[in-house]
């Protein structure tokens, strides 16, 4: 099964290579800084999905938390398909039915974007109340599988390889009927197959719905999470036979409950194993250090990543790891509520982080916005990580409580600058970036294969927003698709170091992250004006390190563990 998968994976890389030829040439050295704009191409690309909250006017808490989406290559043809998660009817709902998740296959030709709704043919239209999605090849057959974290029973979709998915939840033993939110596949025990982390939020159900808001005037609002009880998260160990075992307690992850919303995995202490960070909503965020013996240690307190600047638990929503300051270790972004700042925790080494939200420039601008999805990426290929944040208030009647705010809000785009500074440039990034939306999920990936990264925002109760990067004359780049052999097939947890224009760039292959969303599993490094193919150092989850001299740039390289580039 594995061999066949590898061969099919190798075979699919022709299309991106062809598309690379259409990319705009890099700017000559010394040219004026390129201006990058993003354009909403959702409808033009044929994506007609509209998220439905399944609401009835009762303002049940789950309605406003939104659903995610992701970029996945489910058919192994080398381009990114899109999966969008939907709500489901709540008690009292009278709108159209059924409400289904949707899969869109990327049928683009050249730069002409075209997505086809293949929900029915792929059998991926789950009817549950969907929240998050994460992707990974849990059975190492070379095909990307999906996990759906639902409000209600979760779903594991097994990719059968014939263009369809089958529901494998019960046989795999990974159904959780509680309110799950974000999820991530990871190989925490380095046994070569993918395990699964699922964050759970609170114990709200329609039966224990509470009245929150202005009781005197009977104006209901969505509840604060601490009105309900926090839940413990789940860690499932892959048994290697298509089944999983709940090891949450044995691994030391159930010592405390939290209002988990965002999950990101990464090796923050660079010791070769995958750690876990959970963004919690009004309970402390949690940083779990992998002890490399099947257990984790809660490092929240000593790391300084659990709280806001004044020691208060913030409303953590989305999160991501990224080496924004280019010092070789992973930093953390967490989005929060308005009147709180989004938090940027800089990794100082030694397991310690410092809160640099305000000094970096991301804090002040976020005070009047409610942030959800967050993703580090290099949108202009200049070799420095940038950051996008999906915004939108949780209260659809927000102005009733504060007329200085709005339900729909514009998204942020931060440009990474020297000295660890981040400059918010959303308003300068095209008219569509100024549009207010009630955004929740955020994923990034190169949807048109032109060498720059595009964004997908999911919108609560609305159409998603596929934002095409229309950069012209930006820097060179290199993409990497890693295929594990001794390691898990998706190479989740593989760490790559590339020499970039400002030093060594570091990133890891990861499932999940942001808020309820799945980014492209391939890695992307901006090289700015470099024309020489860089050397790549890959540390695989199996523990082996591989150094590769890329044969060229401005292309996606496929690297097979222990072998090298298989599409030179």
């Amino acid at each position: 099964m594995r061999t066949a998968g590898i061969l099919s994976a190798i075979a699919i890389l022709a299309l991106p290579a062809a598309l690379v030829a259409l990319a705009a040439p890099p700017a000559p050295p010394g040219a004026e800084a390129p201006r990058v704009t993003f354009r909403d191409v959702t409808r033009q690309a044929g994506i007609g999905f509209v998220h439905n909250m399944g609401k009835s006017g009762k303002k049940m808490m789950v309605e406003t938390m939104g659903s995610g989406g992701g970029f996945i290559d489910y058919d192994n043809d080398g381009d990114l398909d899109i999966y969008l998660v939907n709500g489901a009817p709540l008690p009292g709902y009278t709108g159209p039915r059924p409400l289904l998740n949707a899969m869109y296959r990327n049928d683009s030709v050249g730069t002409t974007l075209k997505f086809t709704d293949v929900t029915a043919s792929t059998r991926t239209g789950d009817k549950g109340y969907g929240m998050g999605i994460c992707a990974g090849d849990y059975d190492n057959d070379g095909l990307t599988d999906l996990y759906l974290a639902n409000f209600g029973p979760d779903v594991l979709y097994h990719n059968t390889g014939d263009g369809t998915f089958s529901v494998a939840t019960d046989e795999a033993g990974v159904s959780d009927a509680r309110w799950s939110t974000s999820c991530a596949f990871l190989d925490y025990d380095h046994d070569g197959d993918l395990d699964l982390y699922v964050a759970n939020y609170v114990d709200f159900t329609p039966d224990n719905d509470k009245f929150c808001g202005d009781y005197t005037h009977n104006v209901k609002a969505y509840c604060h999470p601490n009105v309900y009880n926090p839940q413990n998260d789940m860690l499932y160990r892959n048994n290697g036979d298509g089944t999983f075992t709940d090891v949450s307690r044995a691994a030391g992850l159930q010592a405390k409950d939290g209002n988990g919303l965002g999950v990101v995995t990464g090796d923050y202490d660079d010791d070769g194993d995958t750690d876990i960070y959970v963004a919690d909503d009004k309970t402390p965020n949690i940083l779990y250090r992998n002890n490399n013996d099947g257990t984790f240690t809660d490092m929240t307190l000593m790391s300084g990543t659990g709280f806001g600047l004044n020691g208060e638990p913030l409303a953590g929503m989305g999160t991501d790891f990224g080496d924004y300051d280019g010092d070789g270790d992973l930093d953390i972004i967490v989005t929060n509520l308005d009147f709180e700042n989004n938090s940027l925790y800089r990794n100082e080494g030694g397991g310690v982080f410092s809160d640099v939200s305000f000094p970096s420039g991301i804090g002040a601008v976020s005070l009047s916005f409610v942030g959800f999805g967050a993703k580090f990426f290099d949108y202009d290929n200049d070799g420095r990580l940038d950051l996008a944040v999906a915004n939108g208030h949780i209260l659809d009647n927000a102005p009733y409580f504060n007329d200085a705010t709005t339900y729909a809000q514009r998204n942020f785009l931060f440009h990474g600058e020297s000295g660890g500074q981040m400059k918010e440039v959303g308003l300068e990034s095209g008219p569509d970036m100024k549009v207010a939306n009630v955004a929740r999920g955020l994923a990034v990936g190169d949807i048109d294969g032109d060498g720059d990264l595009d964004m997908l925002f999911t919108v609560c109760g609305g159409a998603p927003r596929l934002m095409l990067n229309e950069a012209r004359g930006i820097g060179h780049w290199i993409g990497l698709r890693l295929i594990g052999r001794a390691s898990n097939r998706s190479a989740l947890g593989a760490r790559v170091r590339v020499k970039g224009p400002f030093g060594i760039m570091t990133d890891e292959v990861r499932s999940g992250s942001s808020y309820l969303s799945q980014p492209d599993l391939r890695l992307h490094f901006g090289l700015d004006s470099a024309t020489a193919a860089p050397a790549l150092e890959i540390r695989w989850p199996s523990g082996t390190t591989q150094t590769i001299q890329a044969a060229g740039i401005d292309r996606v390289l496929t690297v097979l563990e222990g072998q090298g580039v298989v599409n030179p």
Binding site: D214, Y215, T283, F307, N310, F358, A364, V365, A404
Partner: protein, 398 residues
Amino acid sequence: MRTIRVMKHSRRLPSMFFVCFVCFAPALAMPQIRSQAPPPVTSLFSSLMTQGQAALKAEDYPSAQAALEKAIAARPSDVDAHYLLGRAYGQDKKYQFAAQQFRETLKLSPGHTLALIDLATIEETMGHFDEASAHYRQALKAGPNARADRGLASLLSKQGRQDEAIAALGRAMTAAPDDEETRYQLGLARMQKGDCAAAIPDFRAVLTRKPAHLGSLFNLGNCLNRTGAREEAARTLAQFQKASQDEAGRVGRRRRAYFLTLEADGKLESGDIAGAVKAMQEAIGLNPEDAGAQAMMGQAYDAAGDLPRALASYQKAAQLEPGDAMVLVEIGRLNGKAGRIADALSWLQRAARLDPLMPEPHMLMAAAYQQMGRTAEAAREDAIYRRLAAASRQTPAP
């Protein structure tokens, strides 16, 4: 919590008084006597201001808001009432309403330093830095002010201008060397600049005076950790964790009690008296010092026919919040119901003194006097009641 009770009283009083009339067996027709002059607005205003300030001090912000809104209705141009209402909203994180009240304050008293600073603080919280800066600076024109200095420094710090923030806070420290918040902000600014060694003494100094200061414990622990003092960092962060969990537990208990009170209110409304009593007993168990919950407990016991417990709950509520006239009315009514008419009168008179424009004590006093055979006094109180009730109907709710 108070929000419920304010709502509840206005909604439930008619049925309550129906019971009450039966209990007091008042005369159906009372002789009309010459009306007394209406109670002076001044005393009502003073009473409401006292109530509002007491509630604000007790961190009972909804009650403070209710009282101060009434105070403003009684005297719309009072600077202090607008300012205090702004504080009550601000502490309750209703920033929009708070800002509105501070602006009203500044319209009436353009140089009002506290209003300028509080308005600036809210603007800072909302990310409106330019407006905040202007208001802090305007406040400083009146003279040295540690809060305004601290606010300006905080703004600078949030804009990444740590050196300027540190300089401003240093000046503020010189002006007010014992101001813990200024010292804390100085520590924060130094820490954010990356100078933990300089920040540590600041956090320690704050903790000397305020040992449970969450921000100082947290950031001292972080800074000790960053400077390699791992063991002390662990101890400090453990202290922080405990203090933080205690605070979360306190807030959680209050929140749970609040929702139980809402639940009880709904059960009373639907006639599930036993359910209401049970919910309120649980709420009181979680937060026994909440006057509103005690009053609601009294109401539930009363509905269940448990007069002694109802009275005890209302009396506890009155102890916790002596300025709530409605609770005194309830105690009076229940004493009357128990046949202790003299006691009832005493409580009702206290209520009437506390809130001279409230009609209900007079209605009940009329009934009580009538029952005692003191018809002239009964008629007098009845007339007062009718006049105040009519006036109350004509006055829109604030």
